[in-house]
Subunit: 322 residues, 2 copies
């Protein structure tokens, strides 16, 4: 089970290897929002997202024999790069299972981090069966994207940094809006803040139509999304909250926020103009909630979770909203 | 005269008010370059460029009476925003003289920082005469963009941070490529590094056709550029090196590097993809030199100086090179 001790142990294993990301703010952005917004820029993390933390935490926590055998992950996105990067730096073999229609650039980047990419046809092949076979044959350890105590602990190190940075900025009470897919980052941050900055409370941010976490927090039951895809916020589309993450967030998080695709793209454009950082739409959902949400106090914190966006989508966001 | 004591005094006045910017690196960027590149991301500075430092240093160094009277600067770009931001935070009146054909967004941003923008017609009016009249009437102090000891000291705080960050990253010997207009930043960094990290040597980076500093360093005389405009690197087009900056750089800097406009735009695109930061072409000149320069060692540092770029130019860089 993830707790503050596990998060602090993960932070020690990351020391000097994973970047401490800055907490940014900009007076002109505050003017647009009508409130003060502080942005934890995890898009500046190695590999371009907070997933480098969870990957590092999980790989570094393995017993040496297991690490030498190698790891496997299923992902076409940020988790793939986070695990591949961590495995390479630990000298661990790494297999990433990706659908064969994943964007070429994502396949190429994952390979460039040193991983063996195994492609499968998602219409005819069973990813879990292929993964289980490979893992069995080679003795690989599966690194799940969020439902793993060490992954949650790794993401929780964002919360440790935030607790310090908020104190430096004089912030003791504020919602911490956090982009949410399966909830690994939100639950890790929530655990860290409960221990280190109890006046800061996590609130998840999700795309409209994919607000399984917000609805689950509201209803008290595990809710599912009707669709599996169809939002520009591809990085945070998951069918339902995690088994480990939902109970943590039910205990510690405030109500979930929901943003439209256009709000996420506007946040991408405003982050370009006023913060000069590159965000992907799914990584800008929390900033969108901070900018355009109705029921928020004068000062909020938003975690900008990733910046792996293709140039055409970015150009479209600028063309429409910058 | 600027020296390490003046730089350290500026750093103390900035404490908690000016951002300590991160030193970024990315394995996939290193692959493109064929060498290790560390990027000091001053584009993440308040106001989007290192000019916030020089502005802060100069305004905060004024005697209280002079500060209460106010300051004036001539600039349509990053210096305007840096001075306006510093003046507003010090409660000092601020006038910025801008040509009336400056981009609307720059005029609007400078006003949003709280400055009074005075427009002039650059074909028919004399900027210096208007500035001198306003300064005289209102008792304003002129903040020059680079030829001012306190401005150089403020920019030199980048060098103090770099010295610490390079040591943390284990870098003791490396060129520090620095985008160069009048030379305020390069000379400030050079002074700081001489005192705090003598194995790191500044090398200026300029656009082809506007390499007055590189030619002045090579010839030992003050050289001038033939043209006043015509490069996409608008932030760093100055006619000739500063009176204060050239002697410092002649003593402390290595040979200047020169990059083409296309190299600067490619650096903008690569910074988008691999570092997820927004750079303006003039702010990417040093990164371009680090990426594409021929006579460089295995590890280099580049100072990315600014990120105030209009969306259309950014989209063009992505379209052509990302």
């Amino acid at each position: 089970m993830t707790d503050i001790a596990l998060i602090e142990a993960a932070a020690r294993r990351m020391q000097g290897r994973i970047r401490r990301t800055p907490l940014l703010h900009a007076p002109l952005l505050d003017r647009v929002a009508g409130r003060r917004i502080f942005v934890k820029a995890e898009s500046l993390q190695l590999t371009g997202s907070f997933k480098a933390r969870g990957g590092w935490s999980a790989v570094s926590a393995l017993p040496p024999e297991a690490r030498a055998q190698g790891v496997i992950a299923y992902s076409s996105g940020n988790h793939a790069q986070g695990v591949a990067h961590a495995a390479a730096r630990h000298g661990a073999p790494c297999v990433i299972l990706m659908p064969d229609d994943a964007p070429q650039v994502k396949i190429a980047n994952t390979r460039a981090y040193g991983a063996e990419v195994v492609l499968y046809d998602r219409r005819t092949e069973d990813r879990d069966a292929i993964g289980a076979r490979l893992a069995g044959e080679r003795g690989l350890t599966l690194i799940k994207p969020y439902d793993d105590p060490q992954v949650i602990a790794g993401q929780g190190t964002v919360g440790l940094e935030l607790a310090e940075q908020a104190a430096e900025a004089g912030l003791t009470e504020a919602p911490v809006l956090t982009c949410c897919g399966g909830g690994g980052l939100a639950s890790g941050i929530a655990l860290a803040l409960k221990a280190r900055a109890p006046g800061l409370q996590v609130r998840t941010a999700e795309p409209a139509g994919f607000d399984d976490m917000a609805r689950s927090l509201a209803s008290g039951r595990r809710e599912r999304n009707a669709a599996l895809g169809g939002s520009v916020c591809d990085a945070i589309l998951t069918p339902t909250p995690g088994d480990l993450t939902l109970p943590i967030l039910r205990k510690l998080a405030g109500p979930g926020a929901v943003v439209t695709d256009d709000e996420a793209l506007r946040a991408v454009a405003l982050a370009f103009t006023h913060l000069r950082i590159v965000l992907e739409p799914g990584g800008a959902a929390a900033l969108a909630a901070a900018l355009f949400g109705a029921d928020l106090p004068e000062t909020v914190i938003a975690v900008a979770t990733g910046g792996n966006i293709d140039p055409a989508t970015f150009a479209t966001a600028l063309d429409r909203f910058a």
